[in-house]
């Protein structure tokens, strides 16, 4: 599944995640458990780690963001080559994941590593709440034949 990592200056840092549902599609209100692994920190010191479950919009509009779960945890031990963590939460009823044409709503696990040098590294791991089919632009409305003769006067 897709993960995005932003920090071209740290190509060795990598964050992977695994969700308790293999297909990553969750019903609204369902529990979610995700594990993540942070590897390749190297010698640089970590100041803190933030993990969150967010929804965000994507598409033609500016990005909107909603935080469902957020936690900042203290830095790991410098001796740890790989840092592990688990996030558990109950998802809300909305918003559902939506694959529109110019508006899309996505849910993700976001793990952010802050270094004492001031740099940070963000990784997003997308999952779905609900299983709506993708939207399509509507065809112009076609006329439908009225069921009864159409000349009407007084209300019924």
């Amino acid at each position: 599944m897709t993960s995005e990592s932003f920090d071209r200056s740290r190509p060795t840092l990598r964050i992977d995640a695994q969700f308790d549902r293999v297909d990553r599609i969750y019903a609204p209100g369902a529990p979610l458990t995700a594990r993540y692994w942070i590897a390749g920190i190297g010698q640089e010191q970590v100041r803190s780690i933030e993990r969150s479950i967010d929804w965000y919009t994507e598409g033609k509009g500016e990005e909107d963001l909603g935080v469902h779960f957020f936690e900042r945890i203290p830095p790991p031990s410098p001796a740890d080559a790989v840092v592990e963590g688990t996030v558990t939460t109950t998802l809300p009823a909305s918003p559902l994941s939506y694959e529109g044409v110019i508006v899309k709503v996505r849910w993700c696990l976001r793990v952010r590593v802050f270094f004492t040098s001031g740099r940070d590294f963000v990784s997003e791991h997308v999952f779905a709440v609900g299983d709506l089919p993708p939207a399509r632009p509507a065809a112009p409305a076609t006329r439908i034949a009225p069921p009864v003769p159409v000349i009407r006067g007084a209300s019924t």
Binding site: G61, V103, A138, P146
Partner: protein, 195 residues
């Protein structure tokens, strides 16, 4: 101030004097004023001729998969060549274009509910029609954020004879689907009246 100048110009004209500078200054304001009056009168006639459109629905907010009784009421006089009610879902996205802000809209669900043509409207009583509308099952609920929105609405389109076509929009709210909840038997709730 404009009224004072206009009165002054009028008095000058009545007295046989023509202040060309004053009249030249007043002409653009007079043009704007006359245009405004014409537009207002036109809107007034349109509202009186076309009449109000009202939508009532048996429950609100709505849910995907739910079936709801809808009452469409149209008042006015004369012949309505076309009148149609449709259920629509529209996406709206706002983004910055350099220093401009632009909003784009796109209709992704457009379901005709009912249509009429050559409808004779009686000015003494309004036209009413009841029908059942089903919200599609696998569709997005209403969603509004600062820059993005997904909005449901009823849209009434009409083409009265001798008058321009009109489009009247009645926003509705669709909540996420909840299998445990049943539509209530509450009194019909009007969701909008548009003149």
């Amino acid at each position: 101030m404009l009224a004072v100048l206009a009165v002054g110009a009028g008095l000058d004209l009545a007295g046989g004097r023509i202040d060309w500078l004053l009249i030249a200054l007043l002409i653009p304001f007079a043009a704007i004023g006359c245009t405004g009056i014409v537009l207002f009168v036109r809107q007034l006639f349109l509202a009186a001729a076309v009449g109000t459109t009202q939508i009532e629905i048996s429950d609100h907010p709505l849910r995907p998969g739910g079936r709801y009784d809808v009452l469409l009421a149209q008042s006015g006089a004369g012949t309505m060549h076309d009148l149609g009610l449709s259920l629509e879902l529209e996406e709206q996205a706002t983004f910055h274009q350099g220093t401009d802000t632009r909003t784009e809209s796109l209709v992704v669900v457009q379901r005709p509910v009912r249509a009429w043509d050559l409808l004779q409207l009686d000015p003494t009583s309004r036209f009413e029609e009841r029908m059942t509308v089903e919200i599609p099952v696998d569709t997005m609920h209403s969603f509004v954020a600062e820059h993005n929105a997904v909005r449901w609405r009823f849209v009434v389109r009409g083409k009265p004879s001798r008058w321009p076509a009109f489009v009247r929009v009645f926003p509705i709210i669709v909540h996420p689907r909840d299998a445990a909840r049943q539509p209530s038997d509450a009194e019909p709730a009007p969701i909008g009246t548009v003149a």
